[in-house]
Subunit: 113 residues, 2 copies
DNA sequence: ATGATGTGCAACCGTATGGTTGCGCCTGAT
DNA sequence: ATCAGGCGCAACCATACGGTTGCACATCAT
């Protein structure tokens, strides 16, 4: 009941990153391509390269992608770990809610004694 | 490969709702209390009741909570379903990334022939 | 009846955020 | 040597968002 705090920071960044539709689109494109550069990605989206660069920075900070330089370009690829961890966090939270709701219901339905 | 679109709308609202720390705090308090009103929740947070009301509206729209009137007050409670669905969506996405990455790696490592 | 308590609505405010444009700097190709 | 393609930085802009305050309306208790 105290594994909170530290983990929440990481989860927070992932949630914020995933909350934007353009960023999710970017992740889809990246997952589909395997690897791509900001310039390439911008061509497939209705926003400027600079906008893409900013989004990639957010995604990178959240650990959802990682980029490496190849010559004059920077190629980004998707990283499942952070997303998976957040999915687990969320599933655990939902399970906790379920547990609590079941408890309340049990108490409510129990006879007075 | 086409179960996207419809589900994403719902997921989007949940992600946006969960991306805010105050809203997550609110959900924690609600889960802990079982039931609570905007006024009660505001007392436990460093923000005004009105701010809480707005947050509750967002959470309600996302299906994460539901409120019912009891006399002059409106009591809210947590709803695990939407959160659970989003957790599953996210886990599936992470798994998809994993699959794709494994595929790329396989191709890359395969001999030319 | 009347006062306290709680909700609902609206206007308003500052800042974070998603977006743009412009420009300078590497790096690779000719 | 030079030129094109791609990256990085900075300034700037509009709007959405989290938050506040003020007030009117409903409801319960006295």
């Amino acid at each position: 009941m105290s594994e909170r705090g530290g983990a929440e920071d990481a989860v927070d960044e992932v949630l914020v990153a995933m909350a934007d539709p353009t960023r999710r689109r970017l992740l889809d494109l990246l997952a589909a391509s395997g690897e791509a550069t900001a310039t390439t990605l911008a061509e497939q989206l209705p926003v400027s390269r600079q906008a893409v660069v900013k989004h990639l920075a957010v995604l990178d900070a959240a650990g959802l992608i990682q980029g490496g330089r190849v010559g004059r370009e920077v190629r980004y690829a998707v990283r499942p770990a952070a997303l998976d961890a957040t999915a687990r966090w969320m599933a655990a939270l939902a399970a906790d809610w379920d547990r609590r709701l079941a408890n309340i219901k049990r108490i409510a339905e129990a006879p007075e004694r």
